[in-house]
């Protein structure tokens, strides 16, 4: 297995971390939607979900109760469809009981993340997105340590507009600077709610924080995604938002962010 350390990632062209610092801003949502948008743009995509306590990816892509199989090079990722266009790995697939709590201290989490990075047979991927839990702790350090042998293109930071959120994301930006992770840009999620009945826009989680944060820290502002009950419902059911609502403002925002991301990955 040792020799396969870069072996399993050798055909992965780009690795992008999705970070925040703050919980509940939409890291898993943005990871899922970017993955679907990238697939929509004919890219082969993988998602590595290293949130061991609260793995959201399996449900968001409707692949809850699936077993993980082994092959010669390690674990076979779970594919969302027969075409194998979207590959996933999450602790969610390893739990027999979905309500089972993973009550692990740091070292145990670090060990499993090491395995997730080295022992999953990703095969050929254009982009591997890494969904992370909030914070700047064991999981984040573990994934970077283990990805050292392979390149990390950079990180997307997700925030909501309010100061309580950007306050934490500033610290995550420091984490990126200290660990040498390039900041690909900032995404502002939950950026306003347009009432479906009267079209009035309400800034439920305040306004403008994402752009301000980008300016303050000299980062690229990738774009904002509005609060959209249709998106929330789609994620609840594990549906493909890009198929169900291709003309929505939400999808347009996500699409633009995806295009900007691809450009910056490809020009590097």
């Amino acid at each position: 297995m040792e020799q396969n350390n870069d072996g399993n990632l050798s055909q992965v062209r780009h690795v992008v971390l999705v970070l925040s610092g703050k919980g509940g801003v939409g890291k898993s949502t943005i990871t899922t939607e970017l993955a679907l948008a990238l697939r929509h743009a004919d890219k082969k995509v993988g998602i590595l979900d290293i949130d061991l306590c609260g793995p959201s990816i399996p449900r968001m892509l409707n692949v809850g109760r699936t077993e993980v199989h082994q092959c010669d090079s390690g674990w076979v990722p779970v594919y969302t469809d027969a075409q194998k266009s979207l590959a996933l790995m999450s602790i969610g697939f390893l739990l027999e009981d979905p309500d089972e709590a993973v009550v692990w201290r740091g070292p145990k989490k670090t060990a499993l993340i090491g395995q997730f990075v080295s022992d999953v047979a990703w095969g050929e991927l254009d982009v591997l997105l890494v969904d992370t839990p909030p914070g700047t702790s064991d999981e984040h350090m573990a994934v970077l340590e283990n990805l050292k042998k392979h390149r990390v293109d950079g990180a997307i930071l997700v925030t909501t507009p309010q100061a309580v959120s950007t306050g934490d994301v500033r610290r995550e930006i420091t984490f990126c600077k200290k660990t040498g992770v390039r900041i690909l840009g900032i995404v502002e999620n939950m950026s306003g709610f347009v009432c479906p009945h009267c079209s009035e826009c309400s800034n439920i989680f305040s306004k403008g924080g994402g752009e301000e944060l980008a300016k303050l820290t000299g980062s690229v502002f990738l774009g904002s995604v509005p609060l959209d009950p249709l998106l929330s419902a789609s994620l609840e059911e594990g549906k493909d938002f890009t198929q169900s609502f291709p003309d929505s403002t939400t999808f347009n925002s996500i699409s633009r962010i995806c295009q900007t991301l691809l450009k910056s990955l490809e020009t590097d």
């Binding site: 610092g21 703050k22 919980g23 509940g24 801003v25 306590c53 609260g54 959201s56 449900r59 968001m60 390893l94 739990l95 979905p98 309500d99 089972e100 709590a101 993973v102 009550v103 692990w104 201290r105 740091g106 070292p107 145990k108 060990a111 499993l112 395995q115 839990p133 909030p134 914070g135 700047t136 702790s137 350090m141 309010q162 100061a163 309580v164 306050g167 934490d168 500033r170 610290r171 995550e172 930006i173 420091t174 984490f175 200290k178 660990t179 709610f193 009432c195 479906p196 009945h197 009267c198 009035e200 309400s202 439920i204 305040s206 009950p229 929330s232 419902a233 994620l235 609840e236 059911e237």
Partner: protein
């Protein structure tokens, strides 16, 4: 869960080879009790009620709720209230309580918490950081050490209520807080969620955690429970309760649902400005639900105290 050895196999399995923690796990040293636990028990014997605010899911409003619970309990000037923030990586409490930039002072009797009012004290790692950009990039053991210090070395004085705000998850911080509080009575945990299944699936794990460590659950609060448009007054379920929301989960798990708090942009605003939403907009539907929830928690704590008294 056959991938990682645990229990009797900890440190002894073939896959443990090369793990930096191998010797520690195999020696069983991880099972020896920490003398600090008894010290903390002693130190916190002057705290009448301890309430943990947990979730499992991030961003559901734990810190918002903890802060407002603290404000509400402290509105009775005869009560001494303290709020301890053990979210080491993402400490939101200083901002929400309007205490950004405050620093902690040392005295003969330990660290002094930061006071919002005469009867409302706060402690957070936020007060130990010199810049808003400082990142706390710590692994589990160092985080645990900080939590131990917060419980052992802060001069809380006599308290009616100690509220502990936690980060999302079921990991070091949660295990540590439960462990370090194990020789002092804890009234229970308030579990915060939002209506969607994506939240509930994490919250159910937190509830399992509470059951595993025998932490009583006071009840569940469902935040972000619908949004009433200020213009047309229609309700939108921005975070849809597609699997029945907290109501169904509470029914299934036989837990009290303490309240459903609607989304209100003024809540986020108050938190950003470090003001109490309960003071700013006391007549809003959200504030009214909060007040009811606080009342339920107070009643629970008083009932427990009565039960304990009549048992002894």
């Amino acid at each position: 869960n056959k991938m990682i050895p645990h229990g009797e196999q900890a440190g002894k399995s073939a896959s443990c080879q090369g793990c930096p923690n191998q010797n520690l796990c195999a020696s069983g040293a991880t099972k020896a009790p920490d003398p600090a636990i008894a010290e903390i028990g002693e130190k916190l014997s002057s705290v009448k009620h301890k309430i943990l605010v947990l979730s499992g899911k991030g961003g559901v409003g734990k810190s918002t709720f903890s802060a407002h619970l603290a404000h509400a309990l402290a509105s009775d000037s005869t009560k001494e209230v303290a709020l301890l923030d053990v979210d080491i990586c993402g400490p939101s409490i200083p901002r929400i309580m309007g205490l950004e930039g405050e620093q902690v002072h040392q005295s003969g009797s330990g660290w002094s918490p930061v006071y919002v009012d005469d009867n409302l004290a706060v402690m957070s790692i936020g007060f130990l950081l010199s810049s808003p950009d400082d990142a706390v990039i710590w692994r589990g053991p160092k985080k645990n050490g900080m939590i131990k210090q917060f419980l052992k070395d802060v001069d809380w004085g006599e308290l009616d209520y100690l509220i502990v705000d936690t980060p999302p998850g079921t990991s070091d911080e949660h295990l540590s807080i439960v462990q370090y509080l194990s020789s002092t009575p804890v009234d229970g945990a308030v579990i915060i969620t939002t209506p969607q299944e994506v939240s509930l699936q994490d919250v159910r794990k937190e509830i399992r955690f509470c059951q595993k460590v025998k932490l009583p659950i006071i009840g569940v609060v469902e935040n972000m429970s619908g949004f009433v448009c200020p213009k047309c007054k229609n309700t939108s379920q921005i975070f849809p309760p597609s699997s029945g929301g907290a109501e169904k989960m509470c029914r299934d798990l036989n837990l009290p649902l303490l309240g459903k708090v609607p989304l209100d942009p003024r809540i986020a605003q108050s938190c950003d400005e470090g003001k109490s939403f309960l003071n700013q907009v006391p007549d809003s539907p959200a504030a009214k639900v909060y007040q009811n929830v606080v009342q339920s928690i107070q009643d629970y704590c008083l009932n427990r105290a009565t039960e304990v008294q009549s048992a002894t």
